[in-house]
Amino acid sequence: MTKGNLTRRGVLKTGAVAGAGLTLPTYLRAQDSGFTNAPTGSTVTLGFNVPQSGPYAEEGADELRAYELAVEHLNGEGDGGMMNTFSSKALKGNGILGKKVEYVTGDTQTKSDAARASAKSMIEKDGAVMITGGSSSGVAVAVQALCQEAGVIFMAGLTHSNDTTGKDKKANGFRHFFNSYMSGAALAPVLAANYGKDRKAYHLTADYNWGYTTEEAVKSSTEAMGWETVGTVLTPLTQTDFSSYITPVLQSDADVLVLNHYGGNMVNSLTNAVQFGLRDRMVNGKQFEIVVPLYSRLMAKGAGENVKGIFGSTNWHWSLQDEGSQAFVKSFGTKYGFPPSQAAHTCYVQALLYADAVERAGSFAPCAVVEALEGFEFDGMGNGPTLYRAEDHQCFKDVLVVKGKENPESEFDLLEIVEVTPVDQVKYAPDHPQFAGGALGTCNNGA
């Protein structure tokens, strides 16, 4: 085991031995190369900033596994995974631009302060040229702003709020994951097809930004299909027992409950809803249904039996049969013994996309990378042909509508794909009202 040497900054290897001297630091100030943390030695350092403590620690752990795998593949170890199926062939398995990839890790704790502290230490101390990871939109937005300021690239991990590439978008930040709007747009037709167009929906929404955007997206898409929204209630983030939010649903004439919750909130609200027998009810002569707009396999596990038959959307699932997904699942499964989560997938892909962009640009300079990624079209990464849109740095690709599997064969086999919603159906204009406000600004090299 020799990978992950404790290099501080590549530049020092050559320059430091010369003796004492005052220099401007390599970060936050332009040097000869003109950008923050330019790797000048034989290695390049990436920063993997994931939640390692707190409620999303499992997702963070899975993200970290994916990054380690990506680093292996970039450095030419292992079976290469998606590098073999990726439509761009710029990556050669010799690191990035011939420099061996090394990495540092940090704990975001799913708090924006801690996440920024961790990212800063990667930039200031370890000389990371790119930061990636995260499992919540609050953290993604906070770290993205930091990277913009510091002049490094941010490749977002799992972040689903519209704001990340909406009102809080930044030129140095990129998101491969899908968003609230896409969830709504993909889900609504499937819901209409399965549950009919004459439905009354009741929303329980987590009382913070991601909850707001998801509620808005699902509401407007389903209403466009003819559904009626009879009630929306905001629930506190710290809520654990949702019974008092669920019993009023019994009293309303709603026949669908939409749970705009994620993580622990989702596990608890769904468990509670099923406990109260909502799924066995008949309202307005129809079977009562529950919808979870954003699914996570790791979290679905926490809800156990309760997810069976419940519709939701997800960015990616390991049971996809395309070549890229298969290759990724195979190399991940071989290394760790179980299939990867959607968080692992998006992180792995982001790492590869970044490396590829650097290769194509021929430079680590953020502005060059931004240029290479903007408008980049690729395939073979699991979601069909994908576009990194230049206007908002959001990936446009197919979205999966899934539902909880009735007869899971293993603890990983909890969701089944109902429909792969084609990218055109989830596309929106960059100035769509749900994404209004904010501006990308210009890319920042840190000069």
């Binding site: 085991m1 992950g4 404790l6 430091a16 809080d168 030129a171 009382d207 913070y208 600004g441």
Partner: protein
Amino acid sequence: MFGLNRKDATLLAIVAALIVFAPFILNPFPAESGWAQFNAGYPDLMQRFVIFGIFAIGFNILFGLTGYLSFGHAAFLGVGSYAAVWMFKLLSMNVIPAIILAVITAGLFALVIGYVSLRRSGIYFSILTLAFAQMSFALAYSVLTPITGGETGLQLALDDPRILDAAAAGGNIPVPSLFGMEMRDSVDLTFGAWVFTFNFGYYFCGLVMLIAFYLSIRIFRSPFGMMLRAVKSNQQRLNYTGLNPRPYTLAAFVISGMYAGLAGGLMASMDPLAGAERMFWTASGEVVLMTILGGVGTLIGPVLGAGMIKYMENIISKINSDILHTWFAFLPDGLEDVVVGLIYPFIGKGWHLTLGIVFMLVVIFLPGGLVQGGQKIAAVFRRRSANAGGAEAEAAKQNPAE
């Protein structure tokens, strides 16, 4: 010197020296060595050390002197950060107005909460402060999103008015500065294999902390400080001595709230983003733990406690298994895996475990906190010199424990 006795002046000088030379002290390992992981001398962490040091110093003025245990002090830090960021958004990227507004806002907030909470004492007081802080957090995270930014925190935007500043150049948001000196400006000193970073923002925070520390010494040694200790010692006697304890405790509460606001304002100046989780009860609990860990009622203890906790959070949490493997690569393969397996639970994602163990060990073996640990070490040295010489130790004994 500065109206301090010799002992306090020495302490102040030591703190000043620590602040000035921190970039050296915190980077003891050559940048390329395996131990560089333990280096803490990079701007962000050094800034955090002093900022949380200020927070803890202020908290100690209330808790250490009066014994009133506030479990909601993070609310003042949060309010201070919000005030500062709003100042950046509306007025100017200069940190001075931001910090001033942060201190004033936090002070007013503390005045209101303190006035109500101080009607009760003991655990009833603690729970009142906790309730206020939790309410602040919950509202800031949800209902007050338009003012606080909610989950994503309050951030600067390109189209902020910034009345006093000229229009932003280019497509990037300007950064906080002090009359043109940007907080993030840094200079590297390369010395052989060592690299030391001097950051303007850090020295600005350091200067502020030195002033805050000096003020806290003055408060500790003042009649006001004595009255606060009297409050802790015997409120009944204080009442029958013709003194009203309430304004004293309220003043202490407001002063420590202003310290928290100062810390919040500085935090926003170093990194212009204010998030609601800064006000969560765990954040309030953290400053309590910092103070107790360092030594309640001592001058320097809270700063040490703050440094300890922040060091663990930022350094231990970043060690991953790969790094462990590089450290122990010299061992035979089987043994290497065993050693790494033994240490692994305590580092990286297990840093909380190490933190918990440190809390327990310190409180079990050093009832007076880290300061007592320092005194014990000092006592060992004194004993040695006493064996050699003699008279010096006698002088040391006369010096009452801090």
